[in-house]
C-alpha cells in the first residue's frame, strides 16, 4: 500500500477516505482535520486560553498535542475520579505529558468536590458509575474554567464517540438530547462556558494512530467501569457497520449534523437559573451536582 500524497510505503489505511498515508502525511492530514473543525465551528481563537480536558487517554492527549504545536494557549485539566489504579496511572500520564511540553496542568479531584470518589458515588446512588462520573465531569470542567477565567473547554471526543452517542439517543428517541449534540456548544449563559470537540472529524483509530506515531505515552488500559457500558455496545455495532460499508459512521454523524439536527432544536429556549447552592447554571433551583453531593454526604456520613 502506498501513501496517497507521496507514494512512499503507507503505515495506515483510511478506508472511509479511500486513502492510505505514510507517517508524516498522516500526521499532517490529522492536524488539518483538527484545523478544519476549529475553523468551521469557530471553536476558539489564538487570543483565548483553551482549557483542554485530559484523561490520560489517546484522544485528549492527541488533541492537546495538536493544539500546543499549532501555537494555541492551553491549560490542561485533569479530573481525578478516584477510580483505583486507573486514576493513579492516567494522572501520571497527564503530568508527564504536561511537564515534557512545559504546559500548565490543573488537577481537580472528584473526592474533594463531591465528597467521595466515583466508585463510592456509584454505591451511594445505586446508579451506573458513568452517570455520576459524567455529571461530575461536566460540572467540574465548567467550574474550573470559570474559576480560571477561561471561556472555552475542549474535550477529546472523536467521531466514534459522537456517532455512538447519537446512536444511543436515536435508539431511545431522546429528542431533548439531539439538539445538544454538537461539535461546538455556544455559551447560553454567562456562567456556562463554550464546549468544543475539535476531534469530531477523526475516528478513534485515527486518534490512536496519531498518538502512537507521535510517541505519546497514553494509558491503553480502560477505566474498569467502561466494560459493559452501553456506549461500548453501540460502538461495536457501529464498527461492524463501518467494516461492511466504510464511511457509515461518518455519514451517520455528519448527515445528522448537517441535515437533521436543526429540526430538533427546540423553539422555546430553556430557562436557565443559577443554583441556589453553588451558583452554577441549572434549569431548576438546586443543580444536579449539588443534589448528588448532598446524597453522597448524607450516606457517607451516616
Amino acid at each position: 500500500m502506498k501513501c496517497r500524497k507521496c507514494g512512499e510505503p503507507a503505515v495506515l489505511e483510511l478506508r472511509r477516505h479511500n486513502a492510505a498515508f505514510c507517517a508524516p502525511d498522516f500526521l499532517e492530514f490529522f492536524r488539518n482535520q483538527v484545523r478544519e473543525a476549529i475553523r468551521k465551528h469557530r471553536m476558539f481563537t489564538r487570543d483565548e486560553t483553551v482549557l483542554v480536558a485530559v484523561s490520560g487517554g489517546k484522544d485528549s492527549l492527541a488533541l492537546w498535542d495538536v493544539l500546543i504545536d499549532d501555537g494555541y494557549r492551553t491549560t490542561g485539566l485533569y479530573l481525578d475520579l478516584g477510580i483505583f489504579e486507573y486514576s493513579v496511572e492516567s494522572k501520571a500520564k497527564c503530568e508527564k505529558f504536561a511537564a515534557a511540553r512545559g504546559v500548565p496542568l490543573t488537577v481537580s479531584a472528584v473526592r474533594d468536590e463531591v465528597g467521595a470518589p466515583v466508585p463510592v458515588i456509584k454505591d451511594v446512588t445505586r446508579r451506573p458509575p458513568c452517570s455520576g462520573c459524567g455529571l461530575s465531569k461536566r460540572y467540574l470542567m465548567n467550574k474550573v474554567a470559570l474559576e480560571q477565567g477561561m471561556l472555552v473547554v475542549a474535550t477529546g471526543h472523536n467521531l466514534d464517540d459522537e456517532a455512538a452517542t447519537l446512536f444511543g439517543s436515536v435508539m431511545h428517541w431522546r429528542t431533548d438530547a439531539l439538539p445538544r449534540q454538537s461539535p461546538a456548544l455556544a455559551s447560553t449563559h454567562p456562567k456556562l462556558v463554550r464546549r468544543v470537540k475539535p476531534l469530531y472529524r477523526l475516528s478513534e483509530r485515527e486518534t490512536a494512530a496519531f498518538a502512537f506515531l507521535r510517541k505519546i505515552d497514553y494509558i491503553v488500559e480502560e477505566c474498569p467501569f467502561a466494560k459493559g457500558a452501553t456506549s461500548i455496545t453501540h460502538k461495536e455495532i457501529l464498527s461492524r457497520m463501518e467494516d461492511a460499508s466504510p464511511g457509515a459512521k461518518h455519514n451517520f454523524l455528519f448527515g445528522f449534523l448537517d441535515r437533521a439536527r436543526p429540526a430538533f432544536e427546540r423553539a422555546e429556549a430553556l430557562v436557565l437559573n443559577e443554583c441556589a447552592r453553588c451558583g452554577q447554571v441549572t434549569t431548576g433551583t438546586i443543580c444536579a451536582f449539588c443534589k448528588l453531593a448532598d446524597q453522597v454526604k448524607r450516606r457517607v456520613v451516616s
Partner: protein, 69 residues
C-alpha cells in the same frame, strides 16, 4: 509469530508468514477496531508478517460514559 492482544493482555501464536488481513480474520477482529503495531511501526492490512515477528493488536476503542477522555 507472536501476537499480543490487550485488555486484558495476552499472547497467541499464529503459524507461518501471514498477511495482517488474514491474521485479523482468523482471530475474528474487526480491522477498524485495532492498530497493528510491529516494533516502532504501524503496518497496513496487506503487509506480510513473518514467522519470527511479534505484532501487537492494540484496541482503539475507548470510553464508557460521557465527557473528557
Amino acid at each position: 509469530m507472536k501476537v499480543i492482544l490487550r485488555n486484558p493482555r495476552r499472547e497467541v501464536d499464529v503459524a507461518g508468514n501471514r498477511r495482517v488481513k488474514e491474521i485479523l480474520r482468523e482471530l475474528d477482529i474487526i480491522p477498524e477496531t485495532v492498530l497493528v503495531i510491529c516494533g516502532d511501526d504501524l503496518v497496513t492490512a496487506d503487509q506480510v508478517v513473518r514467522e519470527g515477528d511479534t505484532i501487537e493488536l492494540r484496541p482503539v476503542m475507548s470510553g464508557g460514559g460521557a465527557s473528557s477522555r
